[in-house]
Subunit: 517 residues, 2 copies
């Protein structure tokens, strides 16, 4: 087993020198420091400096690890990877990792957007070295034969990034389940831009509802907030919202604050992943705080109203869509095996599996069942003889929401992605060091569920630690404090910890921010 895992990696160390030379050796590379380190010199230095193109990474002969995406999985890998063993290129559409659990708080001004954004350069100061690169661009395709990734930046400039080892951690996207109008009219709640847009709409509607001549029904619509999806994000957003309304907006204008309605639409059950007692608690808590919980499925969203599957119509001023997630178009286009839900199929060592060619048919994304049947690793077989190895794409790994193990399918959770990123860093670091890695370093990925948490507003939260028979659940203020401390310790940098703690303190003193620009 160990030998098999290791076997796949020895390929890239030998390929490195060839690829390294091909990729970087032939370019007219200007060393980054010729211009000196002060801004002043760029004027005295003259034309030679100003005419140089964007420098490619300095070649060092080390394998180039390319990480696509900077979410929970990718950021953890960046944090843990040994930068003395790998030259790292990160390609991401964001220059920060989004600390998703704090997004709901930024929607209502409890926290500043910067609290929920952990700059990638802040994760590892060593990334400044010229052999490492961070490209803010979108990866569009992977060519496993040429070992390159095609990328496009926001200006439309396309470029290729060569890799020796590739990690796909491009995440998922909010799924609309084919519901018309979601993309156009509803707000997702998945990144910082979403959160600031929600906050902006929320405060805009609050202000518009106050204008003289605004009719009753229109005022009513503006002050109606609909949350679609009763998962942790939807529940936390609804909870934070009631805090904002009852504590902050109520101080500004009690009458208007009283006119705000919040509706939470859930097709199946609130917090379905949580223990029954917690589901009950959360549901009661939200109802007691004035949130109307509606069981139903949204059929269509229009600019100012939406329709449920039972035909009911609902006018809204702000609609937040936080149902499930699905694969991105990038994931869908990748020439690798996929699970039934369209995620990249990986083995239990996070290695990406080859697309299966049905006999006599063109290559098609395979289902998770196909993958399980054909690619299950054979315990105990030697690496070079293991038939399953033929199905692994060499040197391509995937972590987080974008992938799912064929043998151990896991939900799209931050903690899954983070643990996978941590695991992969350990595996890659061990491989790069050479020598015989320890069994612990190269064992398959094992997920340890750390529990589920969700705040429900009013300084309370539900925590489900779900440890087998002795199932542990917590509710109320202690859970809330645990929720805060847990996320504070999880935050990717001290800067973010300080900012977040500072913002919580300031909000306690002065209330949430209601300014809007």
């Amino acid at each position: 087993m160990l030998a098999r895992v290791w076997g796949a990696c020895t390929q890239f160390t030998s390929a490195t020198s060839v690829l390294g030379a091909r990729a970087f050796g032939s370019e007219a590379f200007l060393p980054c420091n010729t211009a000196g380190s002060s801004l002043a010199r760029s004027f005295t230095g003259g034309a030679a400096v100003s005419a140089r193109a964007s420098p490619l990474p300095t070649p060092t002969g080390r394998p180039r690890l390319v990480i696509l995406g900077s979410g929970w999985g990718g950021a953890r890998l960046v944090k843990d990877i040994d930068l003395n063993q790998y030259d790292v290129t990160i390609v991401s559409t964001r220059n920060h990792m989004v600390f998703t659990p704090l997004l709901t708080s930024t929607c209502v001004g409890t926290l500043e957007p910067r609290c929920a954004a952990v700059p990638i350069v802040g994760l590892r100061p060593e990334l400044e070295h010229p052999q490492h690169k961070l490209y803010i661009a979108e990866a569009t395709q992977v060519d496993p034969a040429a070992r390159t990734i095609s990328c496009t930046d926001t200006t439309g400039l396309t470029f290729e990034v060569p890799y020796d080892v590739l990690t796909l951690s491009t995440g998922s996207q909010g799924s609309t389940f084919g519901t018309p109008g979601v993309e156009e009219h509803a707000h997702f709640l998945r990144d910082v831009a979403n959160a600031t847009a929600i906050r902006s709409t929320l405060i805009k509607n609050w202000m518009l509802a106050n204008i003289p001549g605004r009719t009753g029904p229109e005022r009513c619509r503006l002050l109606h907030i609909v949350v679609v999806g009763g998962g942790p994000t939807g529940v936390e957003f609804a909870g934070e919202l009631t805090d904002f309304i009852q504590k902050d907006l109520h101080k500004i204008d009690p009458a208007r604050a009283s006119d705000i309605k919040v509706t939470l639409i859930e097709a199946v059950e609130l917090l379905s992943a949580f223990d029954g007692r917690l589901r009950e608690y959360a549901s009661q808590r939200l109802t007691r705080r004035g949130i109307k919980i509606v069981k139903g499925l949204v059929k269509e969203i229009r600019e100012t109203d939406l329709t449920l599957d039972n035909g009911d119509k609902m006018e809204y001023g702000l609609c937040v869509w936080s149902t499930g997630v699905g694969p991105t178009t990038f994931t869908t286009a990748l020439p690798f095996a996929k699970t039934a839900r369209g995620r990249i199929a990986v083995d239990d060592c996070q290695r990406v599996l080859r697309q299966i060619h049905a006999s006599g048919k063109a290559a098609e994304p395979s289902s998770v069942d196909d993958v399980e049947r054909k690619d299950r690793p054979q315990e105990g077989s030697a690496d070079h003889e293991d038939p399953s190895n033929r199905e692994v794409v060499p040197n391509i790994y995937a972590v987080g929401d974008c992938c799912a193990s064929a043998t151990q399918p896991l939900p799209a959770l931050a903690q899954v992605a983070e643990q996978q990123g941590k695991y992969l860093a350990r595996v890659l670091n061990a491989k790069a060091k050479g020598g015989q890695p320890s069994a612990a370093q190269l064992s398959p990925f094992r997920y340890r569920h750390m529990g589920s948490m969700a705040t429900t507003g009013g300084g309370s939260a539900v925590i489900d630690l779900g440890k087998g028979k002795s199932h542990l659940t917590f509710t109320g203020i202690k859970s809330y404090l645990a929720w805060r401390s847990a996320y504070l310790t999880k935050l990717g940098s001290w800067r973010n910890r300080f900012f977040t703690a500072g913002n919580w303190f300031m909000t306690t003193l002065f209330g949430r921010d209601v300014s809007r620009w």
Copy 2:
């Protein structure tokens, strides 16, 4: 003199009851608190609550003071006005006052946007009472005969606001001096949205310049920042920018940071309002920090380049336009006397002057000279006989950038606006209390110049206290600390003071924020 000033005010107290009844008495007003104070009640309360239109202010019989705009002048008036004497309606396009001196710091991530935004509701907690209103809308016209202001909100809903006393504090707008392309391609630096847009472009260009395949000239363009205008805003922005480049961006990628160029274009002289020695110091300091100071006039701005009056072309990635200010379209449309520069003409008690009808001609905005000649108050004449009083529009005042005194024209500065707001609050408070007001309360507005300050980057600033012969000037680190303390004490609320001091501390510890979304 005193009698004259007071005379103008007695009109509104008598008009109040009539207007108050007309404006609010006839409307079907629903008291704001019928729905109770908790969100939960809006669901239990039923349909009656949800159908009510936006309530008008509760009538109290007090005169209604309408304040248009929430800049330095308007915000100061809001802060100082006696809310037991006046029912206040504020109409502003923003729900906050912009603390303009901190805008340059928010452009480079030293401060969060919320530091520079002081929520209006935070200025006076009493504004929550139902007799006061804050409308986020644009005032479009004033009808002095009907005593109403026409307003439009962002959805296009138009409404009228009645007033007993009106204060115009709608400020100015960035002047393009007719230069083509400024509005489309350059960034003004006048509000929080401008600052966040500048920061976003700055970081976007920084990231785009790193993409492989970006050509030398294009990279050079992206990393070229042009600041047009060498006043305090332009100088401070250029200075903060060099701090950001040399301290923060340099840490991330020294080579790229060295390739950034900053050009400051000024037609006449840097910091022309400052003492000669300070101008020299600032100019040397900026040059030493790598900023290229170009003397010239921008003739045209296109998407990626601009042309100077000498024909020179300059490619840029970010262009910040901080030259002078001019009147807004609202000011221009007002049916009152104007100065030569198009500002609302006021007498030395901040009272708005009537438009002068030249004999046989239609009403036209008059020049400042006209105003000075015809409207100069006649010292010593009794109020009811004073001919100048006929030229004053009853119960309409103006403060700040939107107006200029005919007898004492003052520059468009924050401290002028703030002192005028403070003065007007004192006058209006004294008038509303009745009885014989003291001389000090009703004397004409006298401007006290508190000095001029500008940071020049690298922990230094210039301060010009300009006290007549014993002209006091300061430079360097002490000035910088003075700059910080002065603005910290000036900030409109404790919340903002804490936030700003906290942000300064955090930036010292962790550097500026480079995340972008």
